[in-house]
Structure formats: C-alpha cells, structure tokens
C-alpha cells in the first residue's frame, strides 16, 4: 500500500525525466506514449488506492525521506492518503490522462510536442505532490511546482512575448499568494511548532492550544491569500484569463480542472482551522461571491471562446469559495470534481473548435459549426448544459448543493449565487449558439478547412461528457436521494475529513429552490436562444462598441490597467528612483563624495607647503609657540 502511494507521483516524474533527458532522441509518438502511460499508470494506481479508501476510512501516511530538518523544525517529504486527497488524485490523474490523450492529437504538429508532454507530466507530478503532501511544506512544494509548470506552459509558445508576459504575470501573481502561504506556514510553525497535518489536525489540538483566535484568524487569512493567488480570486484573478495564452489542453488541465482548484483543496484541507475563524470565513464568502459575480459579468461580454471559459472558471471558483466560506466543504469539493469534468470538457471542446478553425478564437468569426463538428457539438452541448446546472447533469447537483447551503447561511448570498448561475447559463449558451448555430462567419479558407477532430481527440471529449452527465449522481442531495433510496455517497465518503454539513433546510424549501433555479435557468437559455439563434444577433466588433457598461465590462473593468497604474508602474518608478535617485547620487554619492572631498581637501592642504624657507621657519616657531600655549 505504502509503495503504491509512493508510485503515484513517481510515474509521471519518471516519464517526465525520460522525455526531458531523451528529448530529440524520442520520436513524437514515443514521447506521447510515454507521457500518457505515466499518467495512466498513475491513474490506475490512484484508482486502486481510491478503492481501498472507499472501503473504510483509514488514512495512510507514507514517509518518503527526511527533507528539511533544522533544530525542532522537522518537515519530511511524506504523503497522506485520505478520502480528500484520494478524490483529488482521481480527478487529477483521470482528467489528466484524458487531456494527455487529447493533446496527442492537438499538439501533433507542434515542434515542441516533447517539451509539452514533459511539462505536462511534471505538472501532474507536482499536482499530485500538492494533494498528497502530509504537511504544509510538501503542499508548498506542489503549490510552487504547479505554478512553475503553469509558467512554462502558458509561455509554451515562447516566441511570442505576449505569451511570455502572460506567463510571467501568472507566476508573479501566484507568488504574491505564495508569500501569504509562506507567512502562514511561519505562523503555524511559530505557534504550534509543527507543520504536519497529523499533529495540527489531530482532534482537539487546535481548540486546546492556547493560541488566540486572532492569531488563528491571521493564519487562515494568510492561507487564504495563498488560495486567492492560486485559485484566481479577487484581487489576484487577472492572471487566469491571460493564462489562456497557453495551448488549450493546458487551459483545460491546469487553468480549469486541477491547479486552480488547489486553493479549494487547501482550504478544505485546513477546514478545521477555518472553522475556528469565522472572520476569515466571512471574508472567504465575500471574496468568493464577488469573484463569482465579477467573473460572470465579464464573461457575458467576452468574444474570445477561451476567455469566456476562463472567466467562467473564475466565476465558478468564486462559487466554490462561497461554499467553503459557509462551511460546506463537501459541496465545494464536489463542485471541484464536477467542474473538473465539464470545464475540461468545454475547454477541450473549444480546443477542438480552435483546432478546426486553424487557431481562430473569436466567436464572432464562428457559427454554424454544428454540422461540421458533430461530436464536438454534442459533447460541448452536454458540457454547457452541465455548467448551466440543468438536471440531472453533474453541474446541477453540485451547484444546487452550494446554493442551498448558501441559502441556509444567508438569503442574499443565495440570491447572488442564483444570479451568477443565471449569468453563467446565459453566457455559456451565448457562446454555444454563436459557435455552433447560425451561419459561418469566418473566412473562406477557414470554412474550407473545417473538419471534425480525430478519434484520439474526440474520445476524451466523449469520456468527459459521460462523466459530466453521470458524475453528479455520487452526490445526490438528501431530498432527492431519500425518495430514490440513494445515499449522498460523496458526503459520507468525505465526512471523516470534512465533517458533514451542519445546515439543514426544510425539504419543501429545498425542492422549491431547486425548481426555481432550474426554471429560471431554462428561461435564460431560451432567451439566449432567442437572441442568438432566432434573431441571429452577433456581438459588434471592437470598433463599433458603444461606451458604457458594456464596454467597461468587455474591457474587464480595466482592472489590469488599474493594477498596472497602481502597482506595476509605481514599482518601476520606485526602482528607477531608488537607482537614479538614491543609489547613485546618495549612497554611492556619499562614497564618491568622501573620495572627492579628500581629494579637494588634499589639493588645498598641499598648498600649505609653499616652498619658502622663511615661511617654514615661521611655521616652526609658530608650532613651538603652540606647544607653549598648550602647556600654559
């Protein structure tokens, strides 16, 4: 068992190493096979472990080696398998494998395909380390490691500096969050003397410790800052849309399904701490809902197929944080899982579309792809329905759980959550209709080139679509489940780690909410259909765009520009000032000044040596007189 746990991250690491070291000596297909194999083996391994965890709750701790030991600080490189991590393992390796498979087709013409797979494998490795870690430090390895891989993959096409800028931005923004994480670790070690989960989260440990709530709040706040960075929450979300510069499978894997959910994982992992600090929880809710709304609003007006999905991801992540904030950890994790399926599906679908469109990403230039790309069309529809929350697709269950928890917590929160869901449905169907329905708006060349993707790309779509349809059934709400005799498997599986939801609302109200939500969503979809299929309206081009809210939203509320003005430029100015205003004239100036002063003093002083003998005698006598004066 322990060996099996060690093997999980080892497989992708090995395939990374092979591809990285062999590089050009491998043919492209070989590299692809090695990469897929690594993840597949890891998936099988994870499945075995998941299976064993399913049978009974027995967390497994595996120490791989001692890592950093300094005095009483002891952080070993060790893994922990429990229900929470095993679920993430399944998602990462499962979705990861499918995306690998998809990439084989998607990247086959790219020169850097080997490199691509190497990074992808490395990413999987770090992601697995992140969720497997048995202490904060190991999580931090994964945390930073995935950031690094994300950097490499966003800037995969490094010849275009726009991509590089996006990559850098992602890395630096993540780093801001990481600093929060780092400080949180320092605080935890300082107050509790350990970073190990087993110590920190042993029953009653935190509650019994004499550490004040304020400190705990500070700790959770810092942790949450880390989560903000990784999971693209306000104010650190702007990197995620830019991260779409990477290849589409990367967007699917890293920036939708796995890495960005690391923040959720982290909060879920430390739920015991968060539960003790209501202030932070409130903050999480506020940030979460604000991000969800902001993402959704911006998503309404975007015309880039990937940007829409990106803002959708930001928005969905916000919803997950809402769930975390109200203490519904299970709901959040559940949404992570379902979201992983349908968002990966959507991204891969968009990848298939982009592939077919020879790189075109603007939905204003698409349309009518339904017939040319039937499989993509169908699977994309499933994904869209799932994300919109149409029962009985996966998204319905997870979203419903979040909304009902939110309702139990605060009615306004529910209303806002509902609004987000409606907007989600709208912009997703806007995207869907504009892409697949109507008539083709692209160039002749593009139209001529249109084709359905090959099997190795459509297969993952199909598998993911199936998951997106059925994954929800593991987490059927009580109200429905009781009638059908189905347990909420998901909740009971995670209960030992995350506890079970404390809030209960009456069944009738829950039914009502469900009905209301679904009805409204259907209405929104119909409205979207009316707008984009019946009326065939297409968003105007950038030039024609009227001033006003629409333009502001289209331009993402100018947040990037704002950050640029408030942080980046002042930092550059500060740097320039420090160099040109402080370092050269003052600090070095002082040094040079002393030198110059000495020199000028010297050139003055040397003049006392006039060369006149009589004068020397005078000085002599004068000095003697001085001595006399001194003694008198």
């Amino acid at each position: 068992m322990e060996q099996l746990v060690k093997l999980i991250p080892l497989f992708p690491l090995i395939s990374f190493a092979i591809i990285a070291l062999m590089n050009r000596r491998l043919s492209k297909p070989q590299a692809a096979i090695i990469a897929c194999l690594g993840v597949l083996l890891s998936f099988i391994d994870s499945a075995v472990i998941f299976q064993s965890q399913l049978q009974s709750f027995h967390p497994v701790e595996v120490k791989v080696f001692d890592w950093i030991i300094a005095g009483n600080f002891n952080a070993s490189f060790s893994f922990l398998v429990d229900p929470l991590s095993s679920i993430f393992l399944m998602v990462i390796t499962g979705v990861g494998f499918l995306i690998h498979l998809f990439s084989v087709g998607y990247m086959k013409d790219d020169d850097g395909m080997r490199r691509f797979f190497a990074y992808l494998n490395l990413f999987i490795f770090f992601m697995l380390v992140l969720v497997l870690g048995n202490n904060f430090l190991v999580m931090f390895i994964g945390w930073e490691g995935v950031g690094f891989c994300s950097f490499m993959l966003i800037g995969f096409w490094y010849k275009d500096n726009k991509n590089n800028d996006a990559a850098k931005k992602a890395f630096v923004m993540n780093r801001i969050g990481d600093l929060g994480f780092l400080i949180a670790m320092c605080l935890i070690f300082f107050n509790f003397g350990s970073l190990n989960y087993s110590t920190l989260f042993s029953p009653g440990f935190l509650a019994d410790s004499s550490v004040s709530t304020e400190t705990l709040t500070l700790i959770t706040f810092c942790l949450f800052v880390g989560a903000m960075g990784k999971s693209a929450q306000i104010p650190l979300y702007t990197w995620l849309p830019d991260a779409m510069a990477g290849p589409t499978p990367v967007s699917a894997l890293i920036h939708a399904a796995t890495m960005v959910t690391a923040g959720i994982y982290m909060v879920a992992r430390t739920n015991i701490m968060f539960s003790l600090t209501p202030d932070t929880m409130t903050l999480v809710v506020i940030i979460g809902i604000a991000t969800a709304l902001l993402g959704a609003v911006i998503g309404l007006f975007q015309n880039d197929i990937k940007k829409v999905l990106a803002y959708s991801t930001v928005s969905q992540l916000g919803l997950m944080f809402v769930a975390l904030g109200v203490g519904a950890y299970t709901a959040a994790v559940f949404h992570v899982v379902t979201h992983a399926f349908f968002k990966a599906l959507l991204f891969l679908g968009s990848g298939s579309v982009i592939h077919a469109m020879s790189g075109e990403q603007d939905i204003r230039h698409m349309g009518g792809l339904k017939k040319k790309l039937p499989i993509t069309y169908l699977t994309f529809l499933i994904g869209t329905l799932a994300i919109s929350g149409i029962p009985p697709l996966a998204g319905f269950f997870s979203k419903d759980q979040i909304l009902s928890e939110a309702f139990a917590h605060n009615k306004i929160l529910f209303a806002l959550g509902l609004l987000v869901s409606l907007m989600t449905a709208f912009y997703m169907f806007r995207l869907f209709f504009l892409t697949f329905h109507g008539s083709f708006r692209g160039t002749q060349d593009q139209e001529h080139h249109l084709h359905e993707s090959p099997l190795n790309m459509t297969l993952p779509l199909i598998v993911l679509a199936i998951c997106a349809v059925f994954a929800g059934f593991v987490g059927v709400p009580h109200v429905i489940g009781e009638g059908l005799g189905i347990h909420n498997l998901f909740e009971s599986y995670l209960a030992p780690v995350l506890g079970s939801s404390s809030s209960h609302i009456e069944a009738s109200i829950e039914w009502m909410l469900m009905g209301l939500t679904t009805a409204l969503i259907v209405a929104v979809i119909l409205y979207a259909r009316h707008l984009f299929v019946s009326k065939n309206s297409v968003p105007e081009s950038d030039l024609q765009m009227q001033a006003g809210f629409k333009k502001i939203a289209y331009n993402k509320f100018f947040v990037d520009e704002f950050y640029n003005k408030v942080f980046t430029q002042p930092l550059d100015k500060l740097s320039l000032f420090l160099e040109k205003g402080v370092d050269v004239p003052l600090v070095d100036g002082l040094v040079r000044g002393i030198g110059k002063l000495t020199q000028s003093l010297a050139s003055i002083t040397r003049k006392i040596q006039t060369g006149n003998t009589g004068y020397y005698a005078i000085v002599f006598v004068f000095a003697i007189l001085l001595l006399f004066i001194f003694f008198i």
Binding site: K607, Q609, T610, G611, N612, T613, G614, A617, I618, V621
Partner: protein, 105 residues
C-alpha cells in the same frame, strides 16, 4: 633669587632668550641668505651665553665645554652653509631665498 656677579640669573636667561628670539625672527623674516646665516649664528650664541651663564652659576665647567663644541660645530656648519650658498649663487645668480621655491606643494 640667586645672583651671578650681582646680576640675577633670570636676567641672563631673559637676555639670551631675547637674543635667541631676535635671531629666530631674523631667520623668519629676512630674505637674504647671508643674513639668515648670521641670525642662526646669533641664536647659537644666545645659547652659548646662556650655557656659560649657567655654568658659572652652577660652578660647573661641563657647560663651557659644551659651548666649545657648539662653536666648533657652528663653524663647520657655516662652512657647509656658505658652500651651499655659493653653489646657489653660481646657479641662480642671487642669494635671495625667494628664488628657492621650486620645490613646493
């Protein structure tokens, strides 16, 4: 105060100090090398006077011997000094010390 032939020893000290100062002032203020030499001699003679006075005062002949040494050395010194002066005069055509300011700063 003890007397020396009816004159207090202080007077000798004051006299020779005054002589010494005159000599020193001469060295300091005069430009002509010869006169400066003379002033140095004056200073040495002031010392001689003082030594002899003290010698007599203490009834100790050591100082008088010293005076002879001083005189002998002064003679040697002046010989060398004049030689230097002649050399300068030969090269510069003057014995004014003001011309000797090539070496400075």
């Amino acid at each position: 105060m003890q007397n020396l032939h009816g004159i207090p020893i202080d007077y000798y000290v004051i006299l020779s100090t005054a002589l010494f100062c005159v000599g020193a002032l001469g060295v300091m203020l005069r430009r002509n090398a010869i006169i400066i030499f003379m002033c140095v001699e004056l200073m040495l003679n002031a010392v001689n006077l003082l030594l002899v006075a003290f010698s007599s005062y203490f009834g100790d002949s050591q100082a008088q011997v010293f005076v002879f040494f001083i005189m002998a050395v002064a003679a040697a010194e002046v010989a060398v000094g004049l030689a230097i002066l002649i050399m300068i005069y030969r090269n510069a055509g003057t014995s004014d010390t003001d011309v000797l300011t090539k070496l400075k700063w």
